[in-house]
Symmetry: C2
Subunit: 328 residues, 2 copies
């Protein structure tokens, strides 16, 4: 059960190991969006995404004996790096099962962080759960799920604790908080933290077009799935459906989901480059894209965006700048 | 006279208006440099560079009657935006004299920040001092110099106050602090702050090859000039010679200067993109370039870099990524 006490406990474990990421802004983005835009730059977190919070939260909470045997995770990139970095800090073996077609930079980084990377053939139909289960059983590894795991949700919730403080410092008591959403771990954790600490701030999940399972599920009141397994450049937040644990939290606390196109995500990356001087990956930019390009679907004179990750490859990033300039 | 009291007074005026920029790091950069690398990300400052500090410091200290008449500055970009942003916040007219061949983005941004931009023909031999003096006299404007101005140096020194605190939090008492250096305003301000607050931290100015007037002046013990007026991609830090006011401070407090090539600056931009998720412009990346590519000229097991600005144009940035990948 994830609640504010679990998030506070995670915050204590994370102190000194996780960055308090800044809340950035630019008058140029305000003008483009037609309201004040505040961006929580989680791309500046260790490992380049908020996933370092959940990884540290889960690994740090393990009993020592379990940690000594090691952990295992499935991930196409950011969760992999978050778990690998935490495991290395604790001297804990980490096995990461990654699709062979994951971005090469993410695979290389995960290895460089000391993890054993096991690649599987996603297109060829290999099942990562089978591979993982066999490894976990053979070696006694503890599985760390990317979002449907209370300790991970509690870790992501620490981003919400910071946001509640930072919004108060910025004089914002009432606003929509746009959160890039895959399985819903970050959205759920932030929503729980804000429920206690800043009840005037309401989370709104943002997804890429064609992979809006959370938005549709929230509208329907039940968990729905995407039809396609992949096909968006927003690889970090493409998941089959909302989580079993995350969805009830999202349903209780979040406003309607928002959906943006891949091109709008790329344009938001260009705007973040030019106006905030931060690097976002497509999946980490959908929240800003919604703020900039879906103004009529947002309420209030201020909007907050959690820009969740920056592990973009150079070619994608260079392409976004070439196509979209400063994102205006 | 700029001293620690002037820097503290500037810090008081700047509170709530200037960001405390984060001190970032990455295990990948540590490995590349062969020592721990800490990066003070001044690119995340308002207006995209540390110049917002000096601009605010100078404008906020003006008597109200002077402020009502307005300010004037000469700048090819970052100082222009720093002064323009501060002037706008105080409702103070600002005239910025810029070369017609300055980066278009910097000209556009300066105008968008509400300043009146007067362009002059640098190549055609127009003299900006003459243009500025005529305007200043006609309208009673106060000139804000980019570095040889005690209030500006005091403002830049607030970066050093933050750095002293952040280095202590990171457990660093002894280190070289590499600072991107043009006329020496930032280097002088930071050096003065560190002298009082963190005397184990020593500033080392970093310049682009061919424009190493400060390094040569420090070695010679007197102010020397560059032979070429322009020709480096590091436009933000190309100045003819160290300042009259800044040089004695640099000479008293700084270690030897460091020099990097334009390509090394571009490579450092790629490394900062991939490993820190921040955007640096060439002139803002020379400090990181020296940390990564001049390890033998640096002492100690930790090095601190002030990454001074991020106002890169998209084409230059995309080119750096295309050529240098992750900067390894």
């Amino acid at each position: 059960m994830t609640d504010i006490a679990a998030i506070e406990a995670a915050a204590t474990r994370l102190t000194g190991h996780i960055r308090r990421t800044p809340l950035l802004s630019s008058p140029f983005l305000d003008a483009l969006a037609g309201r004040r835009v505040l961006v929580k730059a989680e791309c500046l977190q260790h490992t380049g995404s908020f996933k370092a919070r959940g990884g540290w939260s889960a690994v740090s909470a393990l009993p020592a004996a379990d940690r000594a045997r090691g952990v295992i995770a499935f991930s196409s990139g950011n969760h992999a790096q978050g778990v690998a970095a935490a495991a290395r800090a604790f001297g804990c073996p980490a096995v990461i099962v990654m699709p062979a077609d994951a971005p090469k930079l993410k695979i290389d980084n995960t290895r460089a962080l000391g993890a054993e990377v096991v690649l599987y053939d996603r297109a060829g139909g290999e099942n990562r759960e089978d591979i993982g289960a066999a490894l976990a059983e053979a070696r006694g590894l503890t599985l760390i799920r990317p979002y449907d795991e209370p300790l991970v949700i509690a870790g992501q919730g620490t981003c919400g604790l910071e946001l509640a403080e930072q919004a108060a410092e910025a004089g914002v008591a009432q606003a929509d908080v746009l959160v890039c959403c895959g399985g819903g771990g970050l959205s759920a954790g932030v929503a729980l933290a804000l429920e206690s600490r800043a009840p005037g701030l309401r989370v709104r999940p943002v997804e890429p077009a064609g992979f809006d399972d959370v938005a549709r599920s929230l509208a329907a009141g039940e968990r729905l799935s995407n039809t396609a397994p992949s096909g968006s450049i927003c690889d970090a937040i493409v998941t089959p459906s909302p989580g079993e644990i995350t969805f009830p939290i999202l349903r209780r606390l979040c406003g309607p989901g928002l959906v943006v196109t891949d091109d709008e995500a790329l344009r938001a990356m260009a705007a973040a480059f030019a106006r905030l001087k931060i690097v976002l990956e497509p999946g980490g930019a959908v929240s800003l894209a919604a703020a900039l390009f879906r103004p009529d679907e947002i309420a209030g004179d201020t909007v907050i965006c959690v820009a969740s990750g920056g592990n973009a490859d150079g070619a994608t990033f260079a392409g976004a700048l070439t196509r979209f300039g400063t994102g205006d």
